[in-house]
Symmetry: C2
DNA sequence: CCTTGACCGGGACTAACTCCAGGTCGGTAT
DNA sequence: ATACCGACCTGGAGTTAGTCCCGGTCAAGG
Protein backbone atom coordinates (compact mmCIF):
# COMPACT_ATOMS: atom_id res chain seq x y z
CA UNK A 1 0.00 0.00 0.00
CA UNK A 2 1.15 3.54 -0.70
CA UNK A 3 1.91 6.29 1.78
CA UNK A 4 -1.49 7.98 1.72
CA UNK A 5 -3.21 4.77 2.61
CA UNK A 6 -0.63 3.94 5.26
CA UNK A 7 -1.17 7.36 6.80
CA UNK A 8 -4.88 6.78 6.87
CA UNK A 9 -4.56 3.35 8.40
CA UNK A 10 -1.99 4.25 11.05
CA UNK A 11 -3.24 7.65 12.10
CA UNK A 12 0.07 9.35 11.34
CA UNK A 13 0.33 12.09 8.73
CA UNK A 14 2.22 11.54 5.50
CA UNK A 15 4.85 14.04 6.55
CA UNK A 16 5.28 12.37 9.89
CA UNK A 17 5.76 8.97 8.30
CA UNK A 18 8.51 10.32 6.08
CA UNK A 19 10.02 12.09 9.05
CA UNK A 20 9.94 8.88 11.09
CA UNK A 21 11.61 6.94 8.32
CA UNK A 22 14.30 9.59 7.99
CA UNK A 23 14.99 9.41 11.71
CA UNK A 24 15.24 5.65 11.71
CA UNK A 25 12.10 4.94 13.70
CA UNK A 26 10.61 3.04 10.83
CA UNK A 27 12.69 0.33 9.18
CA UNK A 28 13.54 1.29 5.61
CA UNK A 29 10.37 0.84 3.65
CA UNK A 30 10.41 -1.00 0.32
CA UNK A 31 10.12 1.02 -2.87
CA UNK A 32 8.26 0.20 -6.06
CA UNK A 33 9.92 0.44 -9.45
CA UNK A 34 8.60 4.00 -9.54
CA UNK A 35 10.68 4.87 -6.49
CA UNK A 36 7.65 5.28 -4.27
CA UNK A 37 7.22 3.65 -0.88
CA UNK A 38 5.27 0.42 -0.57
CA UNK A 39 4.12 -0.37 2.94
CA UNK A 40 3.67 -3.97 4.03
CA UNK A 41 1.09 -4.97 6.63
CA UNK A 42 3.92 -5.27 9.15
CA UNK A 43 4.99 -1.70 8.31
CA UNK A 44 1.50 -0.41 8.92
CA UNK A 45 1.15 -2.27 12.20
CA UNK A 46 4.41 -0.77 13.29
CA UNK A 47 3.29 2.72 12.29
CA UNK A 48 0.07 2.23 14.17
CA UNK A 49 1.93 1.21 17.30
CA UNK A 50 4.17 4.26 16.93
CA UNK A 51 1.11 6.41 16.50
CA UNK A 52 -0.33 5.30 19.81
CA UNK A 53 2.94 5.54 21.66
CA UNK A 54 3.53 9.06 20.39
CA UNK A 55 -0.08 10.13 20.84
CA UNK A 56 0.20 9.28 24.49
CA UNK A 57 3.46 11.07 24.99
CA UNK A 58 6.36 8.70 24.43
CA UNK A 59 9.38 10.75 23.30
CA UNK A 60 10.68 9.99 19.83
CA UNK A 61 14.04 9.15 21.36
CA UNK A 62 12.49 6.27 23.25
CA UNK A 63 10.60 5.11 20.20
CA UNK A 64 13.91 5.15 18.38
CA UNK A 65 15.48 2.90 20.98
CA UNK A 66 12.45 0.66 20.71
CA UNK A 67 12.81 0.55 16.93
CA UNK A 68 16.46 -0.40 17.14
CA UNK A 69 15.60 -3.25 19.47
CA UNK A 70 12.76 -4.35 17.25
CA UNK A 71 15.09 -4.61 14.30
CA UNK A 72 17.67 -6.49 16.33
CA UNK A 73 15.45 -9.53 16.75
CA UNK A 74 13.71 -11.47 19.49
CA UNK A 75 16.63 -11.42 21.93
CA UNK A 76 15.73 -7.85 22.69
CA UNK A 77 12.21 -8.64 23.82
CA UNK A 78 13.01 -8.22 27.53
CA UNK A 79 14.18 -4.64 27.02
CA UNK A 80 11.28 -3.87 24.70
CA UNK A 81 8.98 -5.19 27.38
CA UNK A 82 10.62 -2.91 29.92
CA UNK A 83 10.04 0.07 27.68
CA UNK A 84 6.38 -0.74 27.15
CA UNK A 85 5.82 -1.42 30.84
CA UNK A 86 7.43 1.91 31.68
CA UNK A 87 5.12 3.57 29.22
CA UNK A 88 2.11 1.81 30.71
CA UNK A 89 3.20 3.29 34.00
CA UNK A 90 3.50 6.69 32.44
CA UNK A 91 -0.07 6.37 31.20
CA UNK A 92 -1.18 5.97 34.81
CA UNK A 93 0.50 9.27 35.64
CA UNK A 94 -1.23 10.88 32.66
CA UNK A 95 -4.56 9.59 33.81
CA UNK A 96 -3.98 11.04 37.24
CA UNK A 97 -3.19 14.37 35.57
CA UNK A 98 -6.46 14.23 33.69
CA UNK A 99 -8.30 13.53 36.94
CA UNK A 100 -6.63 16.45 38.65
CA UNK A 101 -7.25 18.78 35.74
CA UNK A 102 -10.89 17.83 35.64
CA UNK A 103 -11.13 18.74 39.30
CA UNK A 104 -9.49 22.07 38.66
CA UNK A 105 -11.81 22.78 35.74
CA UNK A 106 -14.88 21.82 37.74
CA UNK A 107 -13.80 24.12 40.53
CA UNK A 108 -13.08 26.99 38.19
CA UNK A 109 -16.38 26.56 36.38
CA UNK A 110 -18.17 26.52 39.71
CA UNK A 111 -16.68 29.88 40.68
CA UNK A 112 -17.90 31.24 37.34
CA UNK A 113 -21.40 30.11 38.16
CA UNK A 114 -21.17 31.93 41.46
CA UNK A 115 -19.86 35.12 39.92
CA UNK A 116 -22.53 35.08 37.26
CA UNK A 117 -25.19 34.22 39.83
CA UNK A 118 -24.10 37.28 41.79
CA UNK A 119 -24.22 39.70 38.90
CA UNK A 120 -27.38 38.37 37.26
CA UNK A 121 -29.52 37.87 40.32
CA UNK A 122 -29.96 41.36 41.68
CA UNK A 123 -30.37 40.00 45.19
CA UNK A 124 -27.48 41.45 47.12
CA UNK A 125 -28.12 43.59 50.19
CA UNK B 1 7.00 35.20 46.91
CA UNK B 2 9.93 34.92 44.53
CA UNK B 3 10.13 33.01 41.29
CA UNK B 4 11.70 29.83 42.66
CA UNK B 5 8.92 29.46 45.18
CA UNK B 6 6.26 30.27 42.59
CA UNK B 7 7.71 27.61 40.32
CA UNK B 8 7.59 25.11 43.11
CA UNK B 9 4.05 25.97 44.05
CA UNK B 10 2.62 26.03 40.53
CA UNK B 11 4.49 23.13 38.97
CA UNK B 12 5.90 25.25 36.17
CA UNK B 13 9.64 25.69 35.74
CA UNK B 14 11.29 29.04 36.36
CA UNK B 15 12.11 29.39 32.66
CA UNK B 16 8.56 28.58 31.67
CA UNK B 17 7.17 31.20 34.03
CA UNK B 18 9.42 33.87 32.51
CA UNK B 19 8.49 32.65 29.05
CA UNK B 20 4.79 32.83 29.89
CA UNK B 21 5.17 36.33 31.20
CA UNK B 22 7.03 37.41 28.07
CA UNK B 23 4.30 35.98 25.89
CA UNK B 24 1.54 37.71 27.80
CA UNK B 25 -0.02 34.65 29.33
CA UNK B 26 0.73 35.90 32.80
CA UNK B 27 -0.27 39.43 33.70
CA UNK B 28 2.82 41.58 34.36
CA UNK B 29 4.15 40.48 37.70
CA UNK B 30 5.16 43.08 40.30
CA UNK B 31 8.85 43.69 40.93
CA UNK B 32 10.63 44.39 44.22
CA UNK B 33 13.02 47.31 44.59
CA UNK B 34 15.75 44.88 43.53
CA UNK B 35 14.04 44.41 40.17
CA UNK B 36 13.08 40.83 40.94
CA UNK B 37 9.59 39.41 40.46
CA UNK B 38 7.25 39.18 43.41
CA UNK B 39 4.33 36.80 42.92
CA UNK B 40 1.04 37.39 44.67
CA UNK B 41 -1.25 34.55 45.71
CA UNK B 42 -3.44 35.38 42.74
CA UNK B 43 -0.41 35.12 40.44
CA UNK B 44 0.43 31.70 41.79
CA UNK B 45 -3.14 30.47 41.45
CA UNK B 46 -3.13 31.63 37.88
CA UNK B 47 0.18 29.88 37.19
CA UNK B 48 -1.16 26.71 38.72
CA UNK B 49 -4.22 26.81 36.51
CA UNK B 50 -1.97 27.37 33.49
CA UNK B 51 0.16 24.46 34.58
CA UNK B 52 -2.78 22.08 34.56
CA UNK B 53 -4.18 23.36 31.30
CA UNK B 54 -0.81 23.03 29.59
CA UNK B 55 0.01 19.70 31.24
CA UNK B 56 -3.14 18.28 29.74
CA UNK B 57 -2.48 19.65 26.29
CA UNK B 58 -4.09 23.05 25.89
CA UNK B 59 -2.12 25.02 23.28
CA UNK B 60 -0.42 28.17 24.50
CA UNK B 61 -2.38 30.13 21.93
CA UNK B 62 -5.62 29.17 23.64
CA UNK B 63 -4.19 29.94 27.04
CA UNK B 64 -3.23 33.32 25.70
CA UNK B 65 -6.79 33.98 24.60
CA UNK B 66 -7.95 32.86 28.01
CA UNK B 67 -5.47 35.22 29.66
CA UNK B 68 -6.65 38.17 27.61
CA UNK B 69 -10.22 37.45 28.62
CA UNK B 70 -9.22 37.04 32.25
CA UNK B 71 -7.64 40.47 32.26
CA UNK B 72 -10.63 42.02 30.54
CA UNK B 73 -12.90 41.44 33.51
CA UNK B 74 -16.01 39.50 34.42
CA UNK B 75 -17.91 40.29 31.24
CA UNK B 76 -15.77 37.72 29.49
CA UNK B 77 -16.77 34.85 31.77
CA UNK B 78 -19.08 33.28 29.19
CA UNK B 79 -16.25 32.90 26.68
CA UNK B 80 -13.83 31.73 29.33
CA UNK B 81 -16.40 29.16 30.32
CA UNK B 82 -16.64 28.00 26.72
CA UNK B 83 -12.89 27.55 26.57
CA UNK B 84 -12.78 25.51 29.75
CA UNK B 85 -15.74 23.39 28.69
CA UNK B 86 -14.05 22.72 25.36
CA UNK B 87 -10.96 21.67 27.22
CA UNK B 88 -12.97 19.40 29.49
CA UNK B 89 -14.24 17.78 26.34
CA UNK B 90 -10.74 17.45 25.03
CA UNK B 91 -9.78 15.65 28.22
CA UNK B 92 -12.40 13.04 27.43
CA UNK B 93 -10.73 12.42 24.09
CA UNK B 94 -7.39 12.13 25.82
CA UNK B 95 -8.79 9.62 28.24
CA UNK B 96 -10.10 7.55 25.36
CA UNK B 97 -6.62 7.67 23.82
CA UNK B 98 -5.13 6.38 27.04
CA UNK B 99 -7.67 3.56 27.09
CA UNK B 100 -6.86 2.61 23.55
CA UNK B 101 -3.13 2.80 24.09
CA UNK B 102 -3.39 0.61 27.16
CA UNK B 103 -5.18 -1.96 25.05
CA UNK B 104 -2.49 -1.81 22.41
CA UNK B 105 0.23 -2.18 25.03
CA UNK B 106 -1.53 -5.10 26.69
CA UNK B 107 -1.87 -6.82 23.34
CA UNK B 108 1.75 -6.21 22.43
CA UNK B 109 2.98 -7.43 25.80
CA UNK B 110 0.86 -10.53 25.43
CA UNK B 111 2.51 -11.39 22.13
CA UNK B 112 5.89 -11.01 23.84
CA UNK B 113 4.83 -13.51 26.49
CA UNK B 114 3.90 -15.93 23.74
CA UNK B 115 7.14 -15.48 21.87
CA UNK B 116 9.16 -15.92 25.03
CA UNK B 117 7.06 -18.89 26.08
CA UNK B 118 7.85 -20.47 22.75
CA UNK B 119 11.58 -19.98 22.97
CA UNK B 120 11.97 -20.76 26.68
CA UNK B 121 9.68 -23.72 27.02
CA UNK B 122 11.35 -26.36 24.87
CA UNK B 123 8.04 -27.98 24.27
CA UNK B 124 7.48 -27.62 20.59
CA UNK B 125 6.84 -30.67 18.45
C1' DC C 1 0.79 15.22 -26.34
C1' DC C 2 -0.42 17.35 -22.41
C1' DT C 3 -2.26 17.57 -18.03
C1' DT C 4 -3.47 15.74 -13.54
C1' DG C 5 -2.68 13.46 -9.20
C1' DA C 6 0.17 11.10 -6.08
C1' DC C 7 4.53 10.98 -4.62
C1' DC C 8 9.59 12.51 -3.96
C1' DG C 9 13.66 14.93 -1.25
C1' DG C 10 15.35 19.15 0.79
C1' DG C 11 14.89 22.87 3.38
C1' DA C 12 12.33 26.68 5.86
C1' DC C 13 9.15 27.41 9.52
C1' DT C 14 6.58 26.69 14.04
C1' DA C 15 5.51 25.64 19.03
C1' DA C 16 6.85 25.35 23.46
C1' DC C 17 10.05 25.16 25.80
C1' DT C 18 15.18 24.69 27.81
C1' DC C 19 19.77 26.06 28.37
C1' DC C 20 23.49 29.23 28.53
C1' DA C 21 26.40 33.49 28.98
C1' DG C 22 27.21 37.53 31.09
C1' DG C 23 25.43 40.88 34.49
C1' DT C 24 23.15 42.70 39.02
C1' DC C 25 21.91 42.65 43.79
C1' DG C 26 21.79 41.57 48.86
C1' DG C 27 23.86 39.10 52.42
C1' DT C 28 27.52 36.78 54.80
C1' DA C 29 32.54 35.49 55.87
C1' DT C 30 37.20 37.19 56.30
C1' DA D 1 36.28 46.88 53.17
C1' DT D 2 36.16 43.42 50.08
C1' DA D 3 35.54 39.09 48.44
C1' DC D 4 32.39 35.74 47.45
C1' DC D 5 27.93 33.36 47.18
C1' DG D 6 23.33 32.28 45.69
C1' DA D 7 19.26 33.76 43.59
C1' DC D 8 17.73 36.40 40.22
C1' DC D 9 17.91 39.16 35.69
C1' DT D 10 17.84 39.62 30.14
C1' DG D 11 18.73 38.17 25.54
C1' DG D 12 19.67 34.79 22.56
C1' DA D 13 20.88 30.17 20.90
C1' DG D 14 19.50 25.30 20.83
C1' DT D 15 16.07 21.33 20.99
C1' DT D 16 11.98 18.46 19.91
C1' DA D 17 8.63 16.92 17.00
C1' DG D 18 6.77 17.85 13.69
C1' DT D 19 4.38 20.79 9.52
C1' DC D 20 4.58 23.32 5.26
C1' DC D 21 6.22 24.57 0.88
C1' DC D 22 8.94 24.04 -3.35
C1' DG D 23 10.40 22.36 -7.69
C1' DG D 24 10.76 17.88 -9.81
C1' DT D 25 9.41 12.98 -11.40
C1' DC D 26 6.41 9.50 -13.08
C1' DA D 27 2.19 6.89 -14.69
C1' DA D 28 -2.33 7.16 -16.37
C1' DG D 29 -6.14 9.32 -18.69
C1' DG D 30 -8.40 12.66 -22.08
Amino acid sequence: MRIAEAANASGLSIDTIRYYEKSGIVPKVQRGSDGKRRFSKENVDWLTLLFWLRETGMPVKTMHRFAVLYQAGDDTIPERKTILLAHADFLKKRRADLDRCEEVLAYKLATYENLQGESLASSKP
